[in-house]
């Protein structure tokens, strides 16, 4: 009878595969994306010409910042750990607290933020229009003689849309192209059975819902990171954040919105403490980490080829 019950639970649980692979290729406007790439790397977009998008979204690594908090112009500190730009197109809303509905709204954020790039649309337009190279490039793409802020954003967004990391080992496993080793296989099973999958699911293995950090033990109650409570103006949503994607997670240390976990193992142990109320056995945690490492995909062509 007990076995029957457990089988019953399992049948209900496995109704559908909760993770889907990233498509091998996506469609985007190549000319626009290349222009966007140039902008993404260009320090011209920061107030004092010192930093660019790529400063905090290191595309050679996981598309995120290896520092706890990013440093903007004049060494000003950000208020949250920079999330990865890789696969951002598959995220439901942008930023940790989802205050941007889409990539376009997101891209405008850091540009205007005085602690980040510290620019204004007018200044960006002025600088771009002063450059002969950009005038030529923009004319080729947008066929207009004057570069506008919106065109610049549009180009950056198009570049970001190209930033996908396909063919992760796990994706290939899902497609039946390879097999996982026993630790990884076991790790995936534990990932599901510990309930991680209830939040980390979908194409980005996260990034598609807002959830609370610290359901069993309160997480840094006094800290004031911009969370859902900020967006919805409701304290009920304190410490509610967008579930971060686990794709390329091995490359995006440090972890959590506050960058408090330096290694994956620490992150797994921390999240099982706060959100499961348990001290996860080291063996299980290590297996889960093994699974997580299979989520590292290939860099997109547009980044690989300079």
């Amino acid at each position: 009878m007990l076995k029957y019950l457990i089988i019953c639970v399992c049948i209900v649980s496995f109704a559908s595969e909760p993770i889907s692979p990233i498509p091998k290729t996506v469609e985007y406007n190549k000319a626009k994306a290349l222009l966007g790439k140039k902008l993404f790397y260009d320090t011209l977009l920061s107030k004092n010409n010192t930093i660019s998008c790529v400063t905090c979204h290191n595309l050679r690594s996981g598309g995120a910042d290896s520092r706890k908090v990013s440093r903007g112009v004049d060494g000003r500190l950000g208020n949250i750990q920079a999330p990865t730009v890789y696969n951002a197109r598959y995220n439901f809303k942008q930023f940790w607290n989802g205050r941007a509905a889409n990539l376009k709204e997101q891209a405008e954020g850091p540009l205007k933020n005085p602690n980040e790039l510290g620019m204004s649309p007018q200044l960006i337009e002025k600088r771009l229009n002063a450059s002969k190279t950009y005038k030529k490039l923009f004319y080729q793409v947008y066929h207009s003689s004057r570069i506008t802020f919106n065109e610049a954003i549009d180009a950056i967004v198009e570049f970001e849309k190209a930033l996908i990391t396909p063919n992760a080992k796990f994706d290939r496993y899902l497609r039946g192209e390879t097999t996982l080793n026993s630790d990884e296989q076991e790790g995936y099973r534990l990932f599901k059975q510990y309930g991680c999958i209830t939040c980390h699911n979908g194409i980005n293995i996260g990034g598609n819902s807002f959830q609370e950090m610290g359901t069993f033990f309160s997480y840094h109650t006094n800290a004031s990171y911009p969370d859902r409570a900020d967006v919805l103006k409701n304290k009920k949503y304190h410490n509610v954040f967008k579930v971060p994607t686990l794709r390329n997670i091995a490359l995006t240390s440090p972890y959590f919105h506050d960058g408090s976990a330096k290694t994956l193992l620490k992150a797994v142990k921390a999240v099982s403490h706060y959100n499961l109320g348990i001290e996860m056995p080291l063996d299980d945690a290590q297996k889960i980490v093994a699974f997580l490492k299979t989520l590292t995909g290939e860099k997109p062509k547009i980044v690989k080829n300079p």
Binding site: S16, P18, F216
Partner: protein, 691 residues
Amino acid sequence: MFRKKAVTILMLFGLFSFGSMAYFYFTQRSFVKNQREFLIHLNNLDNYNSDLTSEALKNSLFTYNSFDKIAYDYDVMQQELKQLQNSKILDNKSYLNIKENMDKVLRTQVDNFLIKIQNFMLLNAAVKNSIVFLSSHVNGASYTQKIEPMLYVKAVKILDAFQNTKKMQDLDYLYRMHYLLQSNSQDKKIKLFVKTFNLHASYLMKKLPAFITTTKDVVVNRVDVTLHKEKKEFNKITLHNFVFFDRFAFVVTISLLLYLLLAIYLFLRYQKANQSLNYSLSHDKLTGLNDRSSLVKDTLALRKNAIILLLNIDAFKEINDIYGNDFGNRVLIKLTRLLNVYLSEISRAKLYRVGGDEFAVIFTDKSVDKVMEIGENLEETIRSKNFKIDNIRTNFSVSIAINAKIPLLENADLALKVVKKDINLHVMAYKEELGIKKEWQKNIKVINMVKSALKEDRVVPYFQGIVNLQTLKIEKYEALVRLILPSGEVLSPYAFLDITSKTHYYYEITKVMIRKTMEVAKIHTMQRFSINFSMQDIINENIIYTLFQLFDADKETAKRVDIELLETELVAVDDSRIGDFIRKVHSYGSKVLIDDFGTGYSNFSYLSDLDIDTLKIDASITKEIVSNPRKLHILQTIHNFTSGMNMKNVAEFVETKELALLLQKLGIEYAQGYLFSKPLPAPLKNSDVSI
């Protein structure tokens, strides 16, 4: 005037109609487009709402389920709401209520619904997480069965209750349930198992009621109800708005219809007017037949295989002169009737009236021989018929020409002229051999020759002396016209004057003759000079004017310039004009001569009426008096008669000494001829002659 006004009204009407139609088209189009867009967004919103609801249900049912779809639906629902609120059609005042409802009611509901979805996702993940964890937790704790079997059974039971509660969405499964495990075991593992189990069980007990409430809230949302209500209201208003378009379309249609009717009416009127104009332009008024212009048009269209029969009434002018034009017209009508009846039995024959007394028939399926036969038959029919008009029986004949060669009408005309000239000929077909055309071409050549001669001053008088048979001195010169060709050849009037007489160049020649003779006469003061005048000259006011103007200019010379008139022509003009002319000539001291007397009717009566000075006896008499006593007698009689009337005689064509001596003996005053002098470019220096 009426037409101009009508066309203006028509244009205005058209402009209005098409303007309204264009307005209707564009307004209606944008309205329909906006209306459709609104409904599309409304339906989309409805669909995503249902999708989101069902996706939420799916998520509550399946433990392992991706949030991707729910996140996507969440996003597009927000977008659709925005687009719905911004629908252009809502700017229309009639949708004010709906716009308000969209902005207030629907937006609030959607916002609330999406907040609920977020809450649902929070709770859903929390509940599922704990249930999944507990399942694994219990499943992985089979070792407890050995130590505390009841504890394990209890744990499974509690888990079952949680599962059922979540599955059935019913809290009753937890009713009076002791959901916490209790164990006094000192076993570390069991202690941890119990602690962790109770932690999650308490958590589930806390979250499950909210989860079930939120799930129900999500499923039973009011968004679809509002959407359906607004849709119904929208359709009602739209239907009402379409009534306006219906009416507008009706007005536009009626206006277009009126425009078309007016246009058709005007067109028909115009066509009718045009038809009657065309008819009068192409038909003869008197006989109702097609006229010359339509004949020309028809022959151009037909060209091949057409044969023309040209019919001309002989001496129609006389009929008009005798009975009057009215009678003449009735003759024409009678003849038309006869021709119509006659031709009605012949296929493919069309009758035209091409001139006052000329008719034409075009045959398109007959041979020339057949038409010839018809023509001969027709001519005989008309000749033998008595036309009875106002109890007067009259008959007349016609001349007929037939032609099959292009140009149809011209060739037929030429042939008809030949027929007219020959009294014995009534019907003839045109043939190239007739050479009529050549003569015609020759005429043009002659006229051109005269034209250039006049221009280049090559028309000159030659002078032939007239000798006094008593004194044997040249007393007078007759000026005779000559045309000198560029080659130097001298042409006598027989070569050109007759043809030229049909043109105005004839008068030019006369004027040259008067002028130049006057000039010569002015130098040769010892002789008189005479110029030949035809009746055509006398009745031409311009010539008369010129003559007397020159006479006035040099009255001395005018005294010695005489006018010769042709005897044959004198009868053709009424006497008073000739009498007036002669009197005027006499007033200058000039004399009047009659030329060629004895060739015409030689009527003596006019000699008594007209003041003639000299009579020139024609060569036909003079030449033969030597051998023919009868002619001699005539000459003598003329001489006696004219002498008695104080007239002198000139004998023409004197070429032999014998004749000259005889004339001298008979007492004829003057003689003219090659014996004495040929016509010369200038008078002789020596005016003495000998016989």
